[in-house]
């Protein structure tokens, strides 16, 4: 039974039933005791009354025993029966005190025996006389049976009432839960701004409702980040696509080799973007297998630089590769993406006539520095965020995808490395990759 309402109802009905049964037992015993006591008192009183009417006369003890409607009386003097109540001929036990017996007519009964000395006007020595009075006990059984029947009836009704009222009260009390369920059922991805009402909730529900609202707030911000990211990605893809489409449509009539070169360049740009996005998705999904292989740093950097050499040369940016010939053990392809994105970033942003320097400082794996413009200190923590653009001053190149640095950092993490950025006093920007242990 998994319904709270049913469980509580059954529990409450059970408790009430237990209490009622205990009460009934106590009452039953009490009623029975009282009935027996009453019977005994009655017998005793009547025995005394009869005894009071006895008289010792010359002919012997004289006692008048009236016909008893539901009983028998017998009187002995010196073990000799001198009188019986009218209507029967049997014998009662000649005993003093209270006792149970079977009546001469076969019914169960109760008796009281009393020794006494009858009144004597002549004041002769007292004569020991015994009177025994017996009555049937059917009335006691009937009373107890009536009490029992009524109690069963009333108890049953009481239990039904308790069960019904409890179930109804619980249904009423749990109504806010049902309302909450309806509110929750109405919330989907498009309506995460909805908050559940806390005011007016019973205190037991207020806390979970607040927790649910917190959850909704977290979901909302996660969803909105996701939406922003998707919209940024679509922007990043649409812009080069628009360039490519317009280029192809405009040059369709008379294409030149330059057009084809340009179309190819745009396509490569988009390929790189899609690659980065895919890799980022895999990092996010934790589906990244990390290989361990010897990697010659200097060669790797030279390979990574090749695609950017032309852009840098156009801007007259000089590259200083100061890496020593060292071999490290890591995942070559992933390190290539990390370094590639750092170099791409440097090549893109370094101002004309500046420099880019690649070195291996003590305690670090690789450092990519450029002559600036500097990244303002308050922007430094943000540059690794997805789709963050180094403001307008740093992104006049049109297509620049704001996921390069973010991907580089995620991959560095996956490789067990750290990627940090700093702007030095001279305005140069330094990206340092270090192994986490150092």
């Amino acid at each position: 039974m998994n319904s709270l309402r049913a469980r509580l109802t059954v529990a409450l009905v059970g408790v009430v039933a237990g209490v009622l049964v205990a009460l009934a037992l106590a009452l039953y015993v009490g009623v029975q005791d009282a009935a027996w006591q009453q019977k005994d008192h009655g017998l005793q009183a009547r025995a005394h009354a009869l005894a009071a009417g006895a008289e010792n006369e010359d002919e012997g003890v004289e006692i008048e025993l009236p016909a008893l409607p539901d009983g028998f009386a017998e009187v002995w003097v010196a073990d000799k029966v001198i009188s019986r109540s009218a209507g029967w001929n049997g014998d009662l036990p000649a005993r003093a005190g209270r006792f149970d017996l079977t009546l001469p007519d076969g019914r169960p009964g109760r008796a009281f025996g009393l020794h006494f000395a009858p009144r004597d006007e002549q004041h002769r020595p007292p004569v020991d006389t015994l009177i025994v009075l017996a009555e049937g006990t059917d009335d006691i059984a009937a009373t107890v049976a009536t009490v029992r029947t009524r109690f069963l009836l009333l108890g049953g009704i009481a239990l039904l009432l308790v069960g019904g009222v409890t179930a109804w009260l619980l249904a009423r009390g749990l109504a806010p839960l049902a309302a909450l369920r309806r509110d929750l059922a109405n919330i989907d991805a498009g309506r995460l701004a909805t908050r559940l009402p806390v005011d007016g909730q019973p205190s037991e529900l207020a806390a979970p409702v607040r927790t649910l609202n917190d959850l909704l707030a977290r979901l909302e911000s996660a969803f909105s980040r996701e939406r922003e990211f998707t919209s940024d990605v679509s922007h990043e893809l649409r812009t080069p696509l628009a360039g490519l489409r317009t280029l192809l449509e405009v040059s369709r009539k008379a294409p030149t080799p330059t057009d084809i070169e340009q179309a190819l360049a745009i396509t490569l740009q988009m390929c790189a973007l899609v690659e980065n996005l895919l890799m980022l998705a895999r990092v996010d999904a934790g589906q990244l297998a990390v290989a361990k292989e010897p990697v010659a740093l200097r060669t790797l950097v030279e390979e990574c630089w090749r695609p950017h050499a032309e852009v840098a040369a156009k801007k007259q940016v000089a590259l200083r590769n100061e890496l020593p010939d060292v071999t490290v053990t890591t995942d070559r392809e992933k390190l290539r993406v990390v370094v590639g994105n750092l170099l791409s970033n440097a090549a893109e942003y370094t101002e004309a006539g500046g420099w880019i320097a690649i070195s291996k400082p003590a305690g670090a794996l690789i450092e990519v520095a450029d002559s600036g413009p500097p990244i303002p200190p308050d922007a430094l923590p943000k540059i690794f965020e997805r789709m963050w653009r180094a403001d307008t001053a740093r992104s006049a190149t049109g297509v620049h995808c704001g996921i390069g640095l973010s991907l580089a950092r995620s991959l560095a993490d996956a490789l067990g490395m750290q990627l940090v950025a700093a702007t030095h006093a001279d305005g140069s920007v330094h990206f340092v990759v270090s192994t986490a242990s150092t």
Partner: protein, 225 residues
Amino acid sequence: MRLLVVEDYVPLRESLARGLKDANYAVDATGDGTEGLWYAENHPYDVILLDLMLPGVGGLEILKKLRATGNTTYVLVLTAKDAVEDRVRGLDAGADDYLVKPFAFDELLARLRAIIRRRYERVDPVIRIADLEVDTRARRARRAGSVIALSAREYALLEYLANRTGHIVSRTELWDHAYDQAAEPGSNVLDVHISHLRKKIDEGHDKKLIHTRRGQGYVLGEDDE
């Protein structure tokens, strides 16, 4: 017709400028918001093609600044932002049309023609003056049913004059709307083009359509009044 293209993605800007010039528009192009704003404020463009995400001054800001200063130049927003809120924001900021990237170049041209028709209060893409027909879709002119071969510049001049039928069009105005920034003002290029155009339109026809108003400019129309 003279257009301004403000777009920071170089391949797109260059292709746009090239395609629009091929379509006989005079085109100025820039990739910088600040420069774009300066261009827009200092030249009487027929239409501005405006990207929204720009370095310097953003596209929306350019739009708002232009409208705030009473500049009514028609603006066609070109952007990668396709959400309804973005479109609404763009149109509410004063844009006249909105085209989401990537777009078909033919659609861009059609929208430009539509905007220009609106600007010169026409509904028919074919302008008719007496027996002269200027088809703005095909960029072709016919007189008395026969096609007149025009150079790109001559057609541009004719289209502008046709849009302003019956009005006196000054040399400066012609210069502003049919030539881009790269053309050299002050030369007699305009006179040469006009005289060629006049020869092709009017020669051999009794009714002259291109008239010179000494000291004021030119009129394209039936009556020399």
